[in-house]
């Protein structure tokens, strides 16, 4: 199949999957919409959909109609930071066929370590966040050694192991917060305030966009995307990670060190998740007050699937998920449709994106068409 056709197929397939998910969402919104008559409900559904699809970057007003809202766009960019990191983390691990689902616990641990460094380790301003982020990435890498080594040495399922670790990380952090680290002067359980020097400074903090704040974490995330992409497609290690994902036995027979690569992929995945947690914590918060897993890890899995495990596509997928998530929040506020609709939409899109045979007949048609053209061309050459 030609490159152009391949691209067209991918685009159409993605659009159809998204369309199906939105259709499911529409039906669900219609069911939950308020209103007594059919028309009322239909109108409420339309209103809710408008909020979900356009609300994230536009503002509605009675007289002026739609107007672009830069603040909301910045909010979406800010929301993309942690999920770009978890998305990359999952990309690397899934590329090696390692179904490590530890990004969820990893980002919480990373955030926690960053908070601890920010509170208890005084350092000069420029270096402080850097050290914090590096430390939390390393900490999560070390924890990811558990599922990685168990998988490589004993063939223990990294999936079950990492899932269990998520719970353990959450409870241990909660325990440490409750017992030792909480600021007792506050009503809720939260840590002491971070030192000023630890904050990741804002990149955009224009008074024009009141409240809109985008930290340097965003360009950092994009740099991480670039580095991750270079690593996966332009380095020997990245190559062996991808080869092991495609065919582990073949990689083994061609002399690659499979065990080492399995461990490596999960270490990198852990580092990315941890760094993401640290950047999120230092960029957006002043105290540590998470008391449950944040869910960024699961979103990261969806993003990796949407991106087809290609790091360069991660920002696009992350933008899509952040946009949708924001849309669902707005819909919950203005149209009273529960925001958890996002989970169902996410699940449906996820399923269709991951489905190999989805639209396979259409693909088959394209392949046949390409082959016929090729044959015709070859025939024409012969006649000449």
């Amino acid at each position: 199949m030609t490159r152009k056709r391949q691209l067209r197929f991918t685009v159409i397939r993605s659009l159809v999957a998204i369309l199906i998910a939105l259709l499911v969402a529409t039906v669900l919104i219609f069911i939950s919409a308020e209103g007594r008559t059919f028309m009322d409900k239909l109108q409420a559904t339309g209103e809710a959909l408008k909020q979900m699809l356009l609300g994230p970057i536009f503002r509605f007003s009675k007289n002026a109609g739609l107007s672009f809202e830069a603040k909301r766009l910045l909010d979406i960019f800010a929301a993309m930071i942690p999920i770009i990191f978890t998305g990359l983390s999952v990309c690397v691990m899934f590329s090696a066929n390692q179904f490590n689902l530890g990004a969820e616990g990893g980002i919480m641990l990373g955030a926690f370590v960053a908070a601890m460094v920010a509170i208890y380790l005084p350092l000069p301003a420029g270096i402080h966040p850097l050290v914090a982020v590096l430390l939390c990435g390393t900490a999560v890498s070390v924890v990811m050694l558990i599922p990685a080594l168990l998988k490589a040495k004993l063939n223990v399922s990294e999936m079950v192991c990492s899932l269990m670790l998520n719970y353990i990380i959450m409870y241990v952090i909660k325990f440490l917060m409750n017992s030792f680290l909480a600021d007792k002067s506050k009503g809720q359980i939260q840590s002491h305030r971070f030192l000023e020097s630890a904050n990741i400074p804002a990149m955009v903090n224009d008074p024009l966009f009141i409240g809109a704040k985008l930290t340097w974490g965003f360009p950092l995330a994009l740099i991480a995307v670039l580095l991750c992409g270079l690593f996966m497609y332009r380095s020997r290690w990245g190559y062996s990670i991808r080869m092991i994902g495609i065919n582990q036995e073949f990689a083994r027979y061609s002399g690659m060190n499979v065990g080492k690569t399995i461990v490596l992929s999960q270490l990198i995945g852990g580092f990315l998740a941890g760094a993401g947690g640290g950047i999120e914590m230092l960029g957006r918060y002043e105290t540590f007050s998470w008391n449950a897993l944040p869910g960024y890890g699961w979103t990261g899995i969806t993003i990796a699937i949407l991106a087809g495990n290609n790091p360069y596509m991660v920002p696009l997928a992350a933008f899509f998920m952040a946009y949708l998530s924001k849309g669902c929040d707005l819909m919950a506020t203005y149209a009273r449709v529960p925001a958890q609709l996002i989970n169902i939409i996410q699940g449906v899109i996820f399923l269709f994106f991951a489905a190999d045979r989805f639209l396979s007949k259409y693909r088959q048609k394209l392949v046949v068409k390409s082959a016929e053209e090729e044959l015709a061309r070859a025939g024409a050459l012969k006649e000449d």
Binding site: L154, V156, S157, V160, I342, N343, V348, L351, R357
Partner: protein
């Protein structure tokens, strides 16, 4: 310490181990059967969440636990068949299908709960705990005669109907797998699908049967969670039991009896955790115990398996060498 052990050696403690293990046993049986058919269903967690919700809702609206249980089972089976459709027909990686179901099971159930019940108390929390009364729960059963036995009676008798069903299903599943044509086909499909299909077994049908069975078991597990273990559904109430079951399946060597025993080990760990927090330990320190035990259990199992394999290989090599001489 002795005092604490004394507190443990009560019928109530053993009773609670069995009670806590039930949903894990159901999910373990589900994991065992699909594993025998040659794939893994990691969506058990999500299936149980959906079953738990539909069970408690139908039980409330129909006014009877029986319909609730049926609804939970139907939910489990239908959703697992949908999983099968995506996995076998659309060729989605079965692990990814499982992840998707789990994703929906966490937030999607809350969405459905809010929409159906119109409960949005405090916007954040919504559950059906307010709707389910004692009468809408699946009943407990006192076994005559046995309940009179001093120590043992307190452990065995008075359990929920589903608890007895769980142990019954452990035996039935074992019989199904090893004594019936269906079980033979399931195992054959798992061992070598090409060989199975060459003797006329419809591999696809067997796979669908296996995943539907796992849905049925998850349905039981979910119903137990929302209509026996707790009164009513609340978000993330299954809290990893579906995943623990995957570990129990591996630890039990993929067999029903072993899997059930492993599930009981996890039940023990959890019951111990509850006891720990009862004597004043921070519950956040006690709660991770079952998850940690799961990892340790997996490691022990893997080491034992590897040793067994090594021994077998050495034996084979030695006998081969002897034969050559």
């Amino acid at each position: 310490m002795l005092d604490f052990l004394g507190k443990l050696a009560t019928p109530e403690f053993f009773f609670s181990i069995i009670r806590i293990s039930v949903p894990i046993i159901f999910a373990t049986l589900a994991a065992i059967v699909v594993e025998k058919a040659g794939f893994a269903n990691i969506g058990l967690e999500g299936l149980m969440m959906f079953s738990a919700l539909s069970g408690s809702l139908v039980s409330y609206y129909a006014g009877s636990w029986f319909w609730g249980l049926l609804a939970a089972l139907a939910t489990g089976v239908l959703m697992s068949l949908a999983m099968g459709f995506f996995a076998f027909r659309l060729k989605t990686d079965i692990i990814l299908v499982g992840i998707a179901i789990n994703m929906m099971g966490s937030g999607g159930t809350l969405f459905l709960c809010k929409v159906i019940t119109n409960l949005t108390e405090g916007k954040a929390m919504a559950s059906t705990t307010g709707l389910i009364t004692r009468a809408l729960c699946i009943p407990n059963i006192d076994i005559p005669l046995i309940e009179k036995i001093p120590f043992l009676g307190g452990i065995i008798s008075g359990h929920n109907l589903l608890t007895y069903l769980a142990f019954l299903f452990c035996i039935l599943t074992s019989i199904m797998l090893y004594k019936t044509p269906l079980g033979l086909n399931i195992r054959a499909t798992g061992e070598n699908p090409n060989a199975a299909s060459s003797v006329g077994v419809s591999v696809l049908k067997i796979k669908y049967t296996a995943i539907a069975f796992s849905g049925l078991m998850s349905g039981f597990g979910g119903a137990f969670m929302s209509m026996a273990y707790a009164q009513g559904w609340s978000q993330d109430m299954v809290s990893g039991r579906g995943f623990i079951a995957l570990a129990a399946q591996a630890m039990g060597g993929g067999e029903c009896l072993g899997g059930t025993l492993s599930a009981l080990v996890f039940g023990f760990a959890q019951a111990l955790g509850i006891k720990f927090s009862a004597i004043g330990l921070d519950s956040n320190l006690a709660s991770p115990i079952p998850y940690a035990v799961t990892i340790i259990g997996l490691v022990i199992f893997a080491v034992a398996r590897n040793n067994r394999m090594k021994k077998r290989h050495t034996l084979a090599a030695v006998s081969e060498a002897k034969a050559k001489k």
